[in-house]
Symmetry: D2
Subunit: 174 residues, 4 copies
Amino acid sequence: MSLGPSCDIMGSKCRRHPSRKGRRYMVIRPYIRKVQYYETDAMGIVHHSNHIRWFEEARVDFLEQLGYGYHRLEEEGISAPVLEASCRYLAPLRFGEEAVITLALTACTPVRFQVRYEIREKEGGALRGEGHTSHCYTDGKGALLSLRKANPGFYGILLEAMEAQEETEEGKEG
Amino acid sequence: MSLGPSCDIMGSKCRRHPSRKGRRYMVIRPYIRKVQYYETDAMGIVHHSNHIRWFEEARVDFLEQLGYGYHRLEEEGISAPVLEASCRYLAPLRFGEEAVITLALTACTPVRFQVRYEIREKEGGALRGEGHTSHCYTDGKGALLSLRKANPGFYGILLEAMEAQEETEEGKEG
Amino acid sequence: MSLGPSCDIMGSKCRRHPSRKGRRYMVIRPYIRKVQYYETDAMGIVHHSNHIRWFEEARVDFLEQLGYGYHRLEEEGISAPVLEASCRYLAPLRFGEEAVITLALTACTPVRFQVRYEIREKEGGALRGEGHTSHCYTDGKGALLSLRKANPGFYGILLEAMEAQEETEEGKEG
Amino acid sequence: MSLGPSCDIMGSKCRRHPSRKGRRYMVIRPYIRKVQYYETDAMGIVHHSNHIRWFEEARVDFLEQLGYGYHRLEEEGISAPVLEASCRYLAPLRFGEEAVITLALTACTPVRFQVRYEIREKEGGALRGEGHTSHCYTDGKGALLSLRKANPGFYGILLEAMEAQEETEEGKEG
């Protein structure tokens, strides 16, 4: 799967959320952010741990664009801790550059979701890094939750977003 | 007040805690830690925000040496958020160096305490930075607490530590 | 001096840069950024070390708005390391909130500049923190520089920005 | 491969470094470090990006134990940037706990090395996380290097360390 600079999520066939039928396109804007000086290291490049933080920033931004901020999820007593995180570093980023981060949901079950990320430099657009994170759902005490039971509305939103991505991909490939 | 590389805190005249009379010296070891690569920036030096973090590390280590870890304080529902923090940067630290951080309590009331810090490089011992933080006490919801009421035992430990410092200073000056 | 949410810098009497005479207002936009989850700590609030990092972000953004990014300064071999940094924490910021950071140059000589910052929460606008940093100029090897000699153009831009602030302040007070 | 709490590296059959024949055991101490308060997040646990930083700390400590600090490598103009990093999070770590990090070289060629890490909590010893990083070698300008040419001494040390691990593993399994 290739993540373009802007990832159109069509909502045309959303069976699960009939009320949303009218909205035919949900465009997810990529997450753009400048390299901060404090993120660089003595090699003069962004320290590799920050890519994992940028994935989080992009994920939080994605949920906000879906209309259900992670902030709101936590207020309702649900957290989504990280089970796995990885990143491949293709070329370094430097202070003065801007990172463009696109993402896609690559799995979504009642107890887990997985996200794939691509980091590009804004000017040239070349891929600088890519990675993924996977997450479970827990309550305030860290006990595992089924999202279908704990928050079916949010679960539906994630399913819809993933389905829409697939349709967009099919459209691109067809 | 000058903080030496090791800060002897004599407990010889502790009126407040008669049970501790027997212990005549409480030596507070300085806090030593290596510069980490991820703490450097593109200038090749430790980014200035990390000094504020090192102050926290040294403060936590100090409370542990006093026998009452910050961890334990938080378990009892008391936090000590930062009201003010400052640092003067005299010379940079680099990867491959070790920082030696000494501290002293400079104020201690039922509602506030203040700490002063000095950062030296381990090899040469020259001063690289100095600063201070001040703190209040809050409960789990952020409401201000009087430590004398909320935890008189811990308050006594802080008072004793400060008094002992003063005696050490007097001893040095006399 | 009070920093409003948007800090008008009038350029009406810029003697030093006659070519800029035509531009009568230079509006410096405040720097706005969301609290990131990785910036929170176990108290559920933004860790106090991050305010120092936000000051840097706002300072870098300010220089960009002045038309001379810090990035460009470093490419020309000039760095502006921090000599002092301080912050007063008036009320905590939490994940889900946005910080609005305004700043003002409070001193500007050939060998040093000082910046004052205010952090407000976007919604309510109440002051959450305030602080300052001061900086010198160094070459690539850390030797002190006079900005008037090393980069008179950038020095003029800083002087002009400070003067314009003062006029704005006078206008407010008058 | 299982990494024990202390990882014996036997040097008994080191063909590559005859001068080291006499030393029969090289014990690599695990890297131990306390969870810092600023490493926690609003979930009350260590933020997942810090595990990637701890891997770096452990790696730097490992090289120092091998007698060739990363610091020295950089002074000689060689860097070892990260090509890939990953972590699986099995259980969270909290403020007040100590992390014990063990590592093993899992690949070592003239142009690349790979390290595997395990993070355990000091008290109970249960596995809290595991991951890996892989690295290439570059000069000061980011161009790829062959370590065999650029620094055969250091390359030999890495090969020897990996071989010794394998012998230790065989000894455990046999």
